[in-house]
């Protein structure tokens, strides 16, 4: 699943517009999050279409658009070897450690 980043794999030919993923920052201080996708012939139009579609109820202050084909995904089925090994490392989490009662600011 390693697509070539950059140029959309399906180029805009024959009237077929490529797919873009849209990320919206809903307000300052928050990160952009995935809102959905849309079709557009190029990045400029994708940005404008995203503005009209995904922020028409004032849902955003900033938008990113990314060609869907440029997204490299972790693994086809999104499980097992990639993520399971992290599951048994409870010592990465603060709740793993026992601290005597009364100790503050820790």
């Amino acid at each position: 699943m390693t697509e070539q980043a950059g140029e959309p794999a399906e180029s805009a030919t024959g009237g077929q517009w490529p797919l873009w993923e849209v990320f919206v920052r809903s307000r300052r201080g928050l990160s952009h999050s995935h809102a959905g996708s849309l079709h557009a012939p190029d990045a400029q139009m994708a940005l404008r279409n995203a503005r009209d579609l995904y922020t028409r109820r004032a849902e955003g202050v900033s938008i990113w658009v990314v060609p869907s084909a440029a997204v490299t995904a972790s693994s086809p089925d999104e499980k097992d070897p990639f993520f399971e090994p992290a599951g048994d490392k409870a010592y990465r989490h603060p709740t793993f450690y026992e601290i005597p009662e009364g100790v503050k600011h820790l």
Partner: protein
């Protein structure tokens, strides 16, 4: 980050032997049973994928064909306030169509394919949009009854087992509630207006009531896809359950409106704790489904024409993008 599969990127399903397939199926069933969500790159049974594509495509098509009967009144809306509301509503429907096409594309089909199938009459849209909007009151009746029925159908879909569909529905349901309320308010203004306005509202409700009930689909014992869809949690309630819920919601709303629902058999059943209602004319439903409704041809023709008229525009933008990408490289 959950990535959306691009068209065609769905994992290949050929190859695994029977044991591996059984294991995948067991895993899929367990995920559905545990109310987890199925995501685009997960393995899924072919029939599940096909059911989703059929249902989501039909849903998306319904949104865009559904623009027509209401857009029919944008230029004639009787006040500027109503004109703004109606424009925003029809625009939302285009938006909902877009959300749904995008969600369907995560299953490895492209919007162009789906549109081709719609235009060729090989995929359906909701039959309700094959009825005409003859008066301004029809805009209200569509908002109140048709959108009301749609919401009743759609709210459970927010918990549908397929992630992208469920997420699209969350967004859509949030926006739909404005649609239903504006329709109700529109009818209320007519009902409390002049005698002619009241009559217009009653006439619209008379024409839209039964088709709205048909929107929930055939009775449970005659529904082709229901049982499997329920098991897969694509569907959460049966057609008849949702229809009953809708009737029970509408009766008191109609009273406040001062309008009657055109069903002499409609009455409260103390024992069931629900309203009994008359027999639905399923032959009309089947006829409309078969393409013989009042507007089937007109709706599809309009859609095809719009698409064809847009070809040179889409081509131009694609050509421009290709030229300028080359220039940059």
């Amino acid at each position: 980050m959950t990535t959306t599969a691009e068209p065609g990127a769905a994992p290949a399903q050929a190859g695994p032997d029977q044991d591996a397939l059984d294991a995948l199926l067991a895993e899929f069933d367990a995920a559905v049973a545990a109310d987890s969500r199925i995501e685009p790159r997960d393995w899924m049974p072919d029939a599940y994928r096909a059911t989703l594509v059929r249902q989501m495509a039909q849903h998306a098509h319904s949104e865009i064909i559904g623009m027509q009967p209401e857009a029919n009144w944008i230029t004639r809306a009787p006040s500027l306030r109503r004109k703004a509301i109606l424009m925003a509503k029809v625009q939302d429907e285009a938006g909902h169509g877009l959300y749904l096409y995008s969600a369907t594309e995560t299953l490895g089909v492209s919007r162009d394919d789906l549109l081709d199938k719609l235009h060729a009459g090989r995929q359906r849209y909701s039959s309700i949009f094959n009825y005409p909007t003859l008066t301004w009151a029809d805009v209200g009746a569509i908002g109140w009854l048709v959108d009301g029925a749609a919401i009743t159908n759609q709210v459970p879909l927010c918990r549908c087992s397929y992630g992208p569909y469920a997420r699209a529905m969350v967004r859509i349901c949030k926006e739909e509630s404005f649609h239903q309320r504006q329709g109700y308010e529109l009818l209320l203004a007519l009902s409390r207006g002049t005698a002619a306005q009241h009559a217009m509202a009653q006439d619209a409700v008379n024409r839209w009531w039964w088709p709205s009930l048909m929107m929930f689909g055939p009775p449970d014992d005659a529904s082709a896809h229901s049982a499997q869809s329920m098991a897969w949690k694509i569907k959460r309630h049966s057609n008849d359950e949702l229809r009953q819920r809708f009737v029970d919601i509408c009766v008191p709303q109609a009273e406040v409106l001062g309008l009657t629902l055109p069903d002499p058999d409609l009455r409260w059943n103390e024992e069931r704790g629900a309203h009994d209602y008359g027999v639905i004319d399923w032959s009309e439903f089947q006829e409309v489904l078969r393409g013989n409704g009042p507007c089937n041809e007109q709706r599809l023709e309009r859609r095809r024409t719009a698409h064809d008229n847009g070809t040179w525009v889409r081509d131009a933008a694609a050509a421009y993008a290709a030229k300028h990408r080359k220039a940059q490289a």
